[in-house]
Every structure is written in C-alpha cells, then in structure tokens.
Amino acid sequence: MSTLTTDLKRLGEVKAPAGFADRLLAHVGMSDSYARFDTVLGAVYVAWNRQGISAAARDASADEFEARFHKEVGRQLVEAVPPPDLAAKIHDELEGRHRLRFDLRGLTPFEQAVLRKTKQIPRGEVRPYGWVAREIGHPAAVRAVGTALANNPIPYFIPCHRVVRTDGQIGNYGGGGPEAKRAILTMEGVRVNRLQELASKGVRYQGVKTTKVFCYPTCHTGRHALEKNIVWLHDEASARAAGFRPCKVCRPGAQLSA
C-alpha cells in the first residue's frame, strides 16, 4: 500500500526544533552562552562555554555585549538560562574565592601568559605592569603587557585592574576607564590615594627592618609590620644595598638564589 510508505517518508522529513543546532553546539562548548548577572560590580554580562568563562563586560545592553563578543571572540553566542550554580560561583570569584575556570582559547600564548599571571595577584593588592612582564619571562615587553591587559576579554574575573603604573597613576582600564579601575580597587580594599602618594614620592617598596625583607606596598605579608620598623625604599638596588632581600610572595625584584 503506497500511502503508508508515503506517510512514513513524510515522517522522515520532519524538521528539528528551531535553535536545536545552536543549543547543541553551545552545550559542547563550540559556541557560547551568556546571561546577565547582578554582582557587587552591578550588572555584568558573562559568557561561558564548556571550557569555562569566556567573556565578561558591564555593557549597557545585551545587543552591545553580543556585538562586543562577536568582534573580540568571533564564536556564536546564544542567550541562555545559566546553570543553577553559576551565579553563586560568579559571586564567590568576585569575592576572591576561585571557583571558575576560564576559556582563553583564541588568545596568543603571550596574552594567555599575561592573563594567567595577572590572575595570581591577590584581591586587595596591585602590581606594576613591569612585574607581569618580568614574571612571564619578557621583562622588556611592558607595553605589550599593557596592550594584552587592555584587550582582556574577561575583566573583573581576570583582575587586570590590579595591574597599575609604577608612577602612581592608575593607568588605563578596558573595563570602564580609570575611574572604574579606582572604584573596583577601593572596593577590594586597596588604599589608592596612599599608593599614589607613595609613588609620587618615588617610593616603590616597603622594607621591614626586623625581617630585612622588601615588598610591594600592598603585599599582604608586610601588612602587620609595626610603623617604626618600616622603611620606604626607592629602588631594588638601594634596597639590596641596605641589606634587604625581595619578598618571596610578591616577588618585587629579580629572584636571586640564596
């Protein structure tokens, strides 16, 4: 009977639901999903895929975020309801507890190295651009570090705001300009004014007389030193000449083997 086989054939021509392919590709991490989250920083659009968080921005609208993502990352992007625990993980990550993975595919190895190193700067502390350059083994590439951080696709989460200029200026910030950078650092507990004051006097490091260790001024290891034991140091050479060695935590100078 031909009608049965004709009907069966028509059954084979049924179409998959709209958006099936996009959702599937997003699920395997080949295109990205995004949603808007309310955070300590206000509303933040966050994109993610199977590899981890792939982009973030405090854009004014979903359209703006999609346009930015398309330009900077270039993969497909689908608005989606986030996995149930993502909002909590985002909250924790922004509070300094590391719970997220990040997808840095598409960036050059140099850019990835800059961002990974930057991610190690603790909340409440800052480092100079030159520190990042030296730590990743390209001490002369300070400007390139600045460019890589300016193009950070995941600001706030990869804390490029914690990298500042040595002369005390706050430096540029892709995540909303110098004012936003200052506001975020203040929120994280950095005393920005004091830092700028020290920098304007040419002070780069804090030395502690009792331990003979010098640190970046925001390093947490030097935080509990008594005021009378602190000496302000201008450069690495004079610090070493005065008998100080660089801190092993914030690594403010070339690490010489003892």
């Binding site: 059954l11 998959a16 958006g19 099936f20 959702r23 599937l24 997003a26 989606a80 996995p83």
Partner: protein
C-alpha cells in the same frame, strides 16, 4: 593533540550537526513517538558523536560514513533508554526547546505525523528499527543492514512484518 586538530574536529562536528540535525531528529521521533523524547535522543546522539570524534585519529574521521554512523549511535541511544538507562535531560543551557508546530506544514499534518510516529514507535523494536531505517530514513536495505548489524534478509523480513503490523494486518502475528 594540538589545538589545530581539535579545531578541525570541531569544524567537522559543526558541519555534521547542521547537515544531519533534521535527519537525526526525525529518526528520534519515529523511534520514540514524541517530539520531546526525539529531541533528547537527537541531542544525546550528537553528544556521543562529539565525544567519540575528539578521540578519533584524523584518517578514521575522514573515512567515517557519517550518516550510517549517526544512525548506529541513535539506535543505541534509544535501546539504552528502553533498558531504563534514561539519559538525564540536559536542558541545553536552559533554553526552552521550541516544539511549536511549523505553520508551513499545517497543524493537522503535523498531528497526523505525530500520531503515525506514535504507532511506529509502539512496534516491537526489531520491526520498528527496520521499518524506520528503510522507510522513514530511506536507507537502502544494505545500509539498514549495516546500521543494524544484521543480514539483509533479516532486515527485509522485519520491514515486511513491520509494515504489515502498521496496516493493522497482524493475523499472522505469531512470535512474541
């Protein structure tokens, strides 16, 4: 494995999804009898395909007969569901699946097709699989036999019996 190899695999997978999504969804619909389960089956089929692809060496991927391969995976997915290892419903990033009936086909036609799918899915598995591969997916007997791992003669007999059952002509129904 370098990122370049992964990128090649991902591009291939993307093309595979776009090329075969409707075919695999239709297969799922005929085997399960409803669109919700069909989407689950289609989704799981492609996820399994993806997980396999990333482990395959390049020449194995090149020689892959995608259509037959996806059919085999989908049949396995459906068999495993029947055994009770029901795959967890992955809400693909939470978006509501869109099961709205397409206007160009007309609602009535869709309802008729869904009713037919339900009848097909209710057949005993061996007849159902044979009928679906041969007449819904329009594979040749050789391709269907290959996907099912059965001799061509067995597939022909099962298709014949399955069509008979669908026509309500089951008086010679003697087994099971």
């Amino acid at each position: 494995m370098g990122t370049a190899v992964i990128d090649v695999t991902e591009r291939l997978f993307e093309r595979m999804v776009h090329e075969h999504q409707h075919r695999v969804f239709a297969l799922g619909l005929a085997l399960t009898g409803n669109r919700h389960d069909a989407e689950e089956v289609a989704q799981d089929t492609f996820l399994k395909a993806y997980r396999a692809l990333v482990t395959y060496p390049p020449d194995r991927i090149r020689e892959l007969k995608q259509k037959a391969w996806l059919h085999r995976i989908a049949l396995n997915v459906v068999r495993n569901r029947v055994r009770g290892i029901k795959p967890r419903l992955v809400e693909l990033n939470g978006s509501e699946p869109d099961h709205a009936i397409g206007t160009e086909d007309g609602a009535l036609l869709n309802l008729e097709l869904d009713a037919l799918a339900e009848r097909v899915s209710a057949l005993p598995a061996r007849y159902r699989d044979a009928v679906v591969l041969r007449h819904v997916q329009e594979l040749s007997y050789e391709e269907a036999a290959d996907a099912l791992g059965q001799p061509v003669g067995t597939v022909k007999a099962n298709v014949h019996r399955g069509l008979k059952l669908l026509r309500g002509d089951n008086d010679e129904h003697s087994d099971d």
